[in-house]
Point group: C2
Chain length 409, copies 2
């Protein structure tokens, strides 16, 4: 049976776990049928009688797995440029808050937006990520903070996956912040998250996972554990915004609940790193927020290496602390600010990001059986993808076997 | 006489010096004839009988002057991604140098490149800058370090201006680093720069200005002064890489020679700031290099404000310390890392960058008589241009009155 497509004359970073580093194959090719990879390896190993409906000569370019952005808050109303300007003009956080700024500002704008408006504004950000080779994106709710708006945000996220040739994985993040109508009663709000919002969202199949923000300014470990228990009762995997601003032992908490990932982790200690590693919970670092907040404590990269923790990185695209819509730039920031190696950066936005979404069986490497999601790059070596700043060498993007000539975006 | 084109239904940041801040005009329009602005202001002030060959409704978008990147090293051979990867893998500077890395690596690749190859690789970087609304770019030589290659680089820079609808301003930077064949004899090399290279380049009219790198690892103030004297003898304005890594009083030196700009300035002291201000020498800050080198001492922004120094910012696009090809990102870095205000960032890539090139009479503001170079943005407020990270809201770019429908890039 012929292949649908063969991409020839390419160098591959297969990211295959049984190969060292990036799993590089020089002079390789990729063959696909019915949207899945049938062969990815050395051209010399392709059967001599292999035929395909379409053969694409990549002219010596590099093929990586399609990029995976495993942590975004892509759906929200408005933006916070005004607040950004006020801070630079010397306004204090109190003054900004008094002027209606902060997360409450995004919540109001999100509540005021229709689903179509949320889709339209999200598409602009998504299109920028897609233009850099992203083929799978995680999108969280968490700017609605009431049941109707959280549902509307998750519907909008799902809709993005229908509007574009991209896979969308959703997370319900009701436990992101306190809505003003909750009057500061965090336990009562968590009750609502667990007993009303989550059941309704699970019933509608709008969430692929459940996330929470465990922090002094957000929710306690005990409140987070209640959210996790409710997620488990609905058969949903969990993940956590952990130890970003202080060490509440969020990493350990996430590991104890078998979380897919624990994210941020600037203040995680060695106990937390060991717990993550044992639970195979992926450590997701988010250098965009670190940069934008001008943080000085980086995540414990040396401990991740010492213990062999799975390590991914993502944009954290959001209107407040990381208005970043470039996964290539997230890689450069990971290298520059956290001293991640090039291999760690590239694995962190492919194989390890797929693992962080529980999708490693479907995406994240160039291996037979997985979806044929590819990014084809005009580069001479993979390191260029992390080295360049504000540059996009994408030549073509392939999602589920379809190359750019087959769809409009 | 009718206009060629009127852009209507726009908000303007005129950057006009007789208006406060960004010189904002809501509900404005711009009219052009023969490539120059004839009117820029409130729509209500446009004569009622104004007619144009073409009227473009901007739909409420914002128009800024076309962006000006006033400090780049855009022309060079090769790249330094491998060195970037080696550093992250733990290699020392000695090991990288031993492996042939550093500026010597770029010099060898530049010497080995033909003019056509230099144009081709420069075009990729230029196209990214153009895609973000840049209409004028300064390009330095300085990776050739011998007469033939310096000339070839400046020819390639001039050629970029013929390949694209963009204005190119060139600087001869022979005094950038020491070529290996000079055997460490800096004075002898400066002799060659002043007595051989500069006269040849001036005769060919390849340089619009002369630049130098005054630093312990480069050239001394006395050597720099000799370069400046030679430039003056050829009627060329000067500029300086000053006080980046240490305070050699480069800012004062630049001011004493009436330099157009002094660039970097991380270590400039108040005397230097006062000297720059008195000489109307523009302070050009380069946050990309600060970011990539993980510097901790920012330029003296507070002193620039105190004394009213003209302040611009630029990408410093180069293969080693700032492989950055996004002027929008340079603005975000200026705001995030140097705490520049939004107005300082936007003026710094328009009016003040034009001043830094000695071109304020022709570009940099939306005022009658200047070239009609425009950037038209899909934004709700100008602050978005500095707030977003890795996002490009450019709607259209106009160079000398020609909108994108009139040329191919």
């Amino acid at each position: 049976m012929p292949f649908d497509t063969i991409w020839t004359h390419a160098h591959l970073t297969t990211m295959a776990p049984d190969r060292p580093g990036l799993g590089i194959v020089e002079d390789g090719c990729v063959a696909a049928r019915d949207g899945r990879i049938v062969f990815a390896g050395a051209a010399a190993d392709l059967p001599g009688d292999a035929r395909a409906t379409e053969t694409i000569n990549c002219g010596g370019r590099w093929i990586t797995p399609g990029l995976v952005d495993c942590h975004t808050h892509l759906i929200f109303g408005g933006h916070r440029a005004n607040e950004f300007a006020m801070r630079l003009d010397g306004a204090t956080y109190e003054e900004i808050s008094h002027a209606g700024g902060g997360i409450a500002s995004s919540m109001r704008a999100t509540r005021a937006a229709s689903e179509a408006e949320l889709v339209a504004s999200g598409l602009k950000r998504l299109d920028h990520l897609i233009s850099e080779g992203v083929t799978t994106i995680e999108i969280k709710s968490g700017y609605g903070l009431d049941q109707d708006t959280e549902i509307r945000c998750l519907r909008a996220a799902r809709q993005l996956g229908r509007e574009r040739a991209v896979s969308v994985v959703t997370s319900f993040l009701g436990a992101h912040a306190m809505p003003p109508e909750a009057d500061g009663d965090k336990d009562a709000y968590i009750d609502r998250v667990c007993n009303e919002m989550l059941p309704a969202i699970a019933k509608l199949n709008l969430a692929d996972a459940v996330d929470a923000f465990c922090e002094g300014i957000a929710f306690s470990p005990a409140q987070t554990a209640r959210v996790f228990a409710a997620a488990k009762a609905h058969g949903l995997p969990v993940k956590l915004h952990a130890d970003q601003l202080s060490n509440l032992h969020g990493a350990r908490l996430a590991a104890e609940h078998g979380a897919l990932s624990a994210d941020h982790l600037e203040h995680t200690d060695e106990d937390g790193v060991i717990a993550l590693t044992r639970a195979s919970t992926v450590a997701v670092v988010l250098p965009g927020a670190f940069y934008a907040l001008r943080e000085t404590q980086a995540p414990p990269i040396a401990l991740f290496r010492k213990h062999g923790t799975h390590l991914a990185l993502a944009t954290d695209s959001n209107p407040g602390t990381s208005p970043l819509t470039s996964l290539l730039l997230a890689m450069n920031m990971g290298a520059t600010l956290f001293r991640l190696t090039v291999d760690e950066c590239l694995l962190g936005v492919t194989r390890e990001a797929a693992r962080a979404l529980g999708k490693l069986h479907e995406i994240g490497t160039l291996e037979a059986g997985k979806f044929c999601d590819l990014a084809i790059w005009d580069i001479e070596q993979p390191a260029e993808l992390a080295y360049r700043i504000g540059f996009n060498p994408l030549h073509a993007r392939v999602w589920h076997g379809r190359s750019p000539t087959h769809f409009s975006n």
